[in-house]
Amino acid sequence: MTGRSLVAARLAGIVVLSAGLALLDASGQAFWQGLVINLAIFLILVVALNLSSGFTGVFSLGHIGFMALGAYISAILTLPLREKGDFLPNLPSWLAGVHLDQRVGVLPLGFFLATIIAAVLVSGIAWVVGRVLMRLSGHFVAVATLGFLVIVRVVLFNADAFTRGSRTFSNVTPYTNLWWAWSWALLAIYVAWRLKRSPYGRDMLAQREDRVAAQAVGIRVMEPRLLAFVVGAFFSAVAGSIYAHFVTSFSPTVFYFDLTFRVITMLVIGGMGSVSGSVIGAVLIIVVTEGLRRIEDATLLYGLSQIILAVIFLLIIVFRREGLLGQRELSLDRWIARRAPRPVEQNVPPPA
């Protein structure tokens, strides 16, 4: 198997995906476009959560809090000045004049900048929170991060000057399109993938499998956990920004336990610790949810789809706890390697 054909295969994958997106983009099918953008947002969220919960085994219930912060911060930054004056009259003066709407050609650079700024700020918050919380393990960290989610929610509800409190934050410019959403999704997947096979990733897995043994051979526990938490927060905030500029109006109630549970369902079904599992989990749940939603709309039995999803989730936890893929990865490389004519030497190390 040569490196060149691998690169070619990956390029081919990207080309196929781009062609698909271009086709969808040109089709003008708003419903399907929305669904595919939604899928990208969930892909980012699941992969981000997987870094902590899967790779390091520090189960976080707080990532939707990072998403919420990302959504609000980026939306405040890109909100047009007139809307800012109308909706957020009490914004501090240093923020009131900020409007990131710069464009380079067709590219909304301002939106990109706002996303990055939001993600970096949220990463900083995650670093501070993580320094404290990553000392905990097991379900204690789960509940402590849930506490973080509640704190974020209370702050969003009460920080009227910035968030309009419980009222809907609206008139966000709809910058998000298929291309933005999927570029970020691919980046998130790529980063997680590379991280898993990097020395940092191996530290994450090692301290998860056996903390004491890892410490005994000099692998640190805090650093890999913190890294996974902060990178996960970064991408969760990105997902928040994409979401904010996709739905254009939202309120703090969105970013709470239902969404958290949905992302966790995707993660657990796909397999904690597997990046490709996250992708499969996200796709499956999006498709199943959409199907169930239609049944719900037709029969008016609201709540039924959540019950079915929860039952599926329960069955997975009881009968196949490691999820569909466990920690394994579906590998394009290996698939190609199997189909390609046998190379001369068999023991080529797997490409990173």
């Binding site: 393990s137 789960a142 509640v150 903390r211 966790i264 039995l301 709540g303 039924l304 929860a310 989730f313």
Partner: protein
């Protein structure tokens, strides 16, 4: 100031006894199975709905309350059998997640049921006369339900303490909490002990659910979430897994909340001349009454601090390997 303070203490005691009732249910199950049962709050919610429908249908309280308790206990036992027993021995997080799934099922099941019964999602709770209105003692006025919550809380917790210390079943329960495997080896029927723990926990959740619904005035399928989080905090503060710890933690949380609510805005309510002007200004500046709406955030910060500084809680023992 005197009556005001007294009133706040009564408020704290009444909130505390509700938290204690819930926290004990959580702690009992946690002590044996190391399961944080997040669906506990949804049991409260279901109890509130059963009570609302029963009272709304004109069934007398003396019948409605037992019906509510039996229904809730039944669901509690069912959930243990279906969702938790198959996971015994599984990693902590797996069981925790399964309790989330159970909670989702209970919430949406209630949603679906109200829909099928063509009732609105959010209903006003038909407060029984026994629990509505206020009691005036001297200068202080207490909602009757707060007083009743406190009395019922104390009575039930007392009964529970007798059960746990004086009966064979209670002793087996403590043995199972000490070491599940060893208890099994000693011939204790662990499944029965776990079922009893769930039954008692669900019964307490039912009573707490009724009192909570009366205090809230309105119920919807999602009301269980916040109380269970609070109860969890109470249990952690007290020392998770210990029943007496949960009681202590429940009351501690009640006081903590009332303190957080009263200390904000204190600068405005202190009678003139009772403090130096500087102190008043300081209080108004740094603890304005607008901060009171951040109460829940404050409580969760307290939780995180306790988890970090004293993860075993006030009464708990150092647990194995929960922090680095």
């Amino acid at each position: 100031m005197g009556p005001y303070l007294l009133q706040q203490i009564v408020n704290a005691l009444s909130a505390g006894s509700l938290y204690a009732l819930m926290a004990v249910g959580l702690a009992m199950v946690f002590g044996i199975l190391r399961l944080i049962n997040f669906a506990h709050g949804d049991l409260m919610m279901i109890a509130a709905y059963v009570a609302a429908f029963a009272i709304g249908a004109g069934i007398p309280l003396a019948v409605a309350i037992p019906v509510m308790i039996i229904a809730t206990v039944g669901i509690g036992l069912l959930m243990e059998r279906a969702a938790y027993r198959p996971l015994r021995g599984a990693p902590d997080v797996a069981i925790l997640l399964s309790s989330f799934a159970v909670g989702q099922i209970l919430q949406n099941g209630t949603l679906l049921t109200t829909r099928l019964a063509s009732k609105p999602q959010q209903i006003a709770f038909p407060s029984p006369d026994l629990l509505s209105g206020v009691v005036t003692i001297g200068a202080i006025t207490i909602p009757k339900v707060n007083l009743v919550s406190f009395v019922i809380g104390i009575v039930l917790l007392g009964l529970l303490s007798v059960f746990v210390t004086r009966t064979t079943l209670g002793l087996s329960m403590r043995a199972a909490a000490e070491d599940l495997g060893a208890a099994q080896l000693m011939g204790i029927k662990v499944n029965r002990v776990v079922a009893v723990a769930f039954a008692i926990g669900s019964g307490l959740a039912a009573v707490a659910g009724l009192l909570f619904a009366v205090q809230a005035g309105q119920i919807n399928p999602y009301i269980g979430f916040t109380p269970v989080l609070k109860a969890f905090i109470a249990a952690v503060i007290g020392g998770f897994g210990s029943i007496s710890g949960a009681v202590v933690g429940g009351f501690a949380l009640g006081f903590l909340e009332v303190f957080a609510t009263t200390v904000t805005g204190l600068g405005d309510i202190l009678p003139p001349g009772s403090v130096a002007p500087g102190v008043r200004e300081f209080l108004q500046q740094w603890l304005p009454s607008s901060l009171a709406s951040y109460r829940d955030a404050f409580v969760f910060v307290a939780l995180i601090v306790v988890l970090l500084v004293r993860p075993q809680g006030i009464l708990g023992r150092r647990d194995r390997g929960d922090t680095l």
